[in-house]
Amino acid sequence: MKAKEIIGRGEEVHGRLYVKVEKQEVRELIKTLKENKFQHFVMLSCIDWIDDGEFELIYHLWSYEYREHVMISTRIKREGEEMESLHDLFPQIETYEREIKEMYGVNFIGNERLTPFFLEGWPHMPPMRKDFDSKKFIKDVFESIPPVEDEDEGI
């Protein structure tokens, strides 16, 4: 694969290149790939490995010329560790980081726009973590609201 020649490491999984790095090396790697025709930033996704106690952040990049997909993955601890923000390389990373902050609770240093996106006034823990119990939440919050009864109901 052309991408493997450019960065020199990683393994090929299902036709895509999967590179595991430390969190300090991510910026250099993305800059190298961006200068070598990997100019489309697809997505930033997050996986919750609750047994290891870590979050895995994956940066996806695509090249139109070589038609190859590169996944750059780093791991940070679930509690107390922060990641630096890369939105000066690709501007759309700002929105992805905003979503991950709201859904998983990962803080990104350098991003000034980490305000709530979909959930207004959310007081509980970030909902996409694996220790958030959906069924109990629904029973406590939504099903405990009483229906409105009317004495002389005509319907």
């Binding site: 979909f118 959930l119 207004e120 006034g121 959310w122 007081p123 509980h124 909902p127 958030f132 959906s134 069924k135 939440f137 629904i138 406590d140 919050v141 939504f142 099903e143 405990s144 609201i145 009483p146 229906p147 409105v148 009317d150 109901e153 005509g154 319907i155």
Partner: protein
Amino acid sequence: MKYEEWSKISRIASKKSLWILHFCTGCGAIEMPPVMTSRFDMERFGMAPMATPRQADVLLITGYLTVKTLKRVIQVYEQMQDPKYVVAFGSCPINGGMYWDSYNTINQLDKYLPVDLYLAGCMPRPEGIINAMMELMEMIEKGEARGWEKYRKNYEKYKKNQEMAFKFGKVEE
């Protein structure tokens, strides 16, 4: 003229010209344009789409409602003039539908807004929508569609339910 006869005339005039608010909340909004255009014509019953809530009679909730949208829908509902009717499409306002265990969608619309008519399906076809509108017209004529009176009488209870939903269960006493 006695009150019963006068309100009967008012109900007949109301049923023959229902104006629908063009506020498309969820995935069911895609079924509204076929109902309005030439194939399944709804204008022959007197119904027409209107641009603002102050001019409309019927509020259509087409699909699921997140808590963020529910705040806006309630503001829209309170701006409409009486008598007004709410019709809920799809299975999501009935019992949550496909999103029943999601952290952000409400499960039963009847706890927050008085609903006059439910229409099951995921999404109902335009023939189903026109059938529902004719059923609504019959209900209006018989005097059974009185959701707006229920909202006025039980205003505090509805407000308390809405507050509990907006704050996701953590209401300070």
